[in-house]
Amino acid sequence: MTGRAAAGWLLRRLALGAVVVLGAATVAFLAFHLATGDPVRVLLGAETPTPAQLAEVRTQLGYDRPVLVQYGSFLGHLVRGDLGYSYQTREPVSELIGDQLLPTVELAGSALILALAASVALAVATAGRRPVLRGVSSLLELVAISAPSFWVGVLLLTFFSFRLHLFPAVGSDNVDALVLPAVTLALGLVGTFTQVLRAGIERALAEPFVLSSRARGTGQTQVRRRHALPHALVPLIALSGWTVGALLSGSVVIETIFSRQGLGRVVATAVGGRDLPVITGVTVVSAAAFTLTSLLVDWLSRVVDPRLRENPA
């Protein structure tokens, strides 16, 4: 593919991404307005204001304007990175998200690395051989996929933290405290990744090009490494969108269980308290992250699999 075509592709994808983020913001705005309950009252929390006070705050926040005007100003603020104020903590949402992003990325990142390492090892070891091991492994993977992460988290916490005192129960300060949450988050991914990778490796191993490579004198392990694994990575990369979603969704639950700082916890608290500005903010941010990821994924897929470069998105 020529550089110009690639640039065109990128531009198209970016434009599409912008549409998606804008759409997500619109959905969030709609949600905000569809939600039952008066945002001003929610904003005032436990206070019991007089009607005059209510009206004042309402004017102050511009909730008395027509919906379309509000939508316009919402988008205007959005473009400037202003996501409004949290009902619960009264902080600017953008700051809140900015502060909490890092711990979540830390958790998600380490879980991802953990999951990738474990599943590559497992998949390469079990793909297409040792049927008993493979069977046991796939059963465990299935359980890992099916067991809800909140349950796994609670069990791990009970066992390793409360009973054996191996890891701290809470906090986001040190590496120790990251172990259990990351393992919990990784477990579900390991199951999925291993299955996808193994299926990919097995499919690739059955392909004539593998036989062809073997006929050239390439050894078993080399064939797995050079030919099968890269092929298995393609579906794994295609799964990235799902992965990001799983990591973010997982962090909502896991940060709650392990009392970790992070975006997930913010979301969980916000939904519980119907802190819509925060939810809206996280929504927009995650849509943006998602769009970027899918862009990255498509680009990566094209790098790994040159055939995809032929058919532009």
Partner: protein, 518 residues
């Protein structure tokens, strides 16, 4: 009941070290004038000093005010201030600062949720001279000194007050033993030692600057993990040890428990006396008597919380001990009362009906704690046995407030810590409606109670006040205006290397004298 940690026999206090304290609440605003929360009180207690201090025996001692006097009419309080006190921002404490602080409390813009009500019939503060300040009231108000001793009326730095609402909520500046450093919402908050501190209350066990170099407050609402953080040594002190874990805590060496029943209004279920089925006292009494609270509390709180028989906690002055066991569970009576009230038919689900109307009681809760939700389910199950359908619904704060204001509920649960029987007025005086910042959720208008409670607040005769409060407590139970459930109890867990922890009169933690053994 004075609580304090550590054995007195241990070595001399060691200065330094940061203490990590696990709290189960998330503060939402640190301006004491705004927020009524316990956790705000705990944090602010370290940051702000009060004019006076109350000790556990209910007597008052000099703090920022070295002395004070009250005029015979009981409406003018004159405080003589210490002159050596500096705020953490360097400004000196003077009468103007006290006035600014109190004016801020009552300013409508502050939208105080609690502190303003503490001041009662407050009319204003006058600067007499830099070291003398006068508070005037429109009527005598006996609980004023106690109110002034709480952190909610702590004295703030005048410069801080200028900084605006948001800044006040997030960066408290006072004259206390610890100064505010940072607050990482929603996980932790840092305080550091105020080395200049030399004006502890006269009754304090320790004078001079605090021992600890700093305090890290970890907000951790997950019971299990908060407790885990204590056992694993991540926190040295935690608040609200889950009752389920008390046994474990006691069994583990190196851990200690600081416990005390908290004064004020116990955990109570308020009943809508204004409308709906509960407007009928028979139905109220039926509900009150049909639930076996003893057993529920025993099993949910593992015997750590005492069963409450009066609206007032046993540690509150003028508590009526005769109410204990005076209204034991009696489902037969409950059924009988309900029959009498006309709820005689039953529907398919087994609930009572009257004129085709099901006997349904709506009980909304805003993201309740798990134990309270469990308690509610227990109540629900037992009420069902006599045919009452208690609908416990989880709502968000906004919907909850709207329900509350709109009176769209039959039951509401609350508790309120304060070492003052006057707290009853907050709940039952007819002028204490929620729109006015009170806790009279259902607009109860009972002249008899008004007379007792308002009279006691204004009266200075201790015996007469006592009589009024005892009568009010009896009246509340007799008329089933509210159902007291359990006595909130401080359950502070700590590592025994932490010494000198104390509880104030309200049962809140004090860190001024705390130190960590090396």
């Amino acid at each position: 009941a004075c609580g304090s940690s550590g054995s007195p026999a241990s070595a001399a206090p060691a200065a330094g070290g940061t203490l990590t304290y696990g709290s189960d609440q998330l503060p939402d605003c640190l301006d004491p004038a705004v927020s009524p929360e316990d956790i705000t009180g705990i944090v602010d207690r370290e940051v702000f000093d009060s004019l006076v201090s109350e000790s556990h025996d209910g007597t008052f001692h000099p703090w920022l005010a070295s002395s004070w006097s009250v005029d015979p009419a009981g409406t003018v309080y004159t405080f003589h201030l210490r002159t050596d006190v500096k705020f953490q921002d360097g400004a000196a404490l003077d009468a103007a600062a006290v006035k600014a602080s109190l004016d801020h409390v009552v300013a409508p813009a502050t939208a105080s949720q609690y502190a303003a009500s503490l001041l009662g019939p407050y009319t204003g503060t006058k600067v007499v001279d830099p070291a003398t300040v006068q508070i005037t009231l429109s009527a005598p108000f006996e609980p004023l000194l106690q109110a002034l001793s709480t952190p909610y009326l702590g004295i703030q730095s005048p410069a801080g007050l200028q900084a605006g609402k948001t800044q006040l909520c997030t960066h408290p500046v006072g004259s206390g033993p610890f100064s505010f450093v940072s607050w990482t919402k929603p996980t932790s908050l840092e305080l550091k030692n105020n080395p200049a501190y030399n004006w502890a209350p006269a009754d304090a066990a320790h004078q001079g600057a605090a021992y600890l170099a700093g305090i890290t407050i970890q907000f951790n609402t997950e019971n299990a993990s908060r407790f885990g953080s204590l056992t694993s040594g991540q926190s040295q002190v935690i608040e609200d040890v889950p009752p389920v874990d008390i046994k474990t805590l006691k069994a583990q060496s190196g851990l200690g428990l600081l416990t005390e029943q908290r004064p004020g209004a116990v955990y109570t279920i308020g009943l809508n006396t204004a409308k709906g089925p509960l407007a009928d006292p028979k139905v109220r009494t039926a509900l009150m008597r049909s639930v076996d609270f003893d057993q529920l509390i025993q099993s949910i709180y593992f015997g750590q919380y005492a069963r409450a028989w009066s609206m007032l906690s046993p540690t509150t002055p003028d508590y009526d001990a005769t109410l204990a066991k005076s209204w034991p569970p009696d489902q037969a009576l409950g059924n009988q009362l309900l029959d009498q009230a006309g709820w005689t038919a039953h529907d398919a689900a087994g609930y009572r009906t009257k004129d085709g109307q099901e006997l349904t009681l709506r009980w909304p809760a805003a993201s309740p704690r798990q134990d309270r939700a469990a308690l509610a389910q227990g109540i629900q199950a037992e009420a069902k046995a006599v045919g009452i359908n208690v609908q416990y619904v989880n709502e968000d704060q906004g919907a909850y407030i709207q329900d509350l204001i709109g009176g769209k509920l039959d039951l509401v649960d609350t508790s309120f810590v304060r070492d003052e029987p006057d707290i009853l007025r907050h709940f039952f005086a007819s002028d204490q409606t929620i729109l006015k910042g009170g806790a009279n959720e259902f607009g109860l208008h009972d002249p008899q109670l008004d007379q007792w409670l308002n009279g006691a607040a204004a009266g200075s005769d201790a015996a007469q006040r006592k009589q009024s409060y005892l009568a009010a407590q009896q009246y509340i139970i007799k008329n089933a205006l509210a159902i007291p459930v359990y006595v909130p109890t401080t359950l502070v867990g700590y590592q025994t290397k932490v010494h000198g922890l104390a509880l104030d009169a309200d049962g809140s933690l004090l860190f001024h004298g705390a130190w960590i053994a090396k």
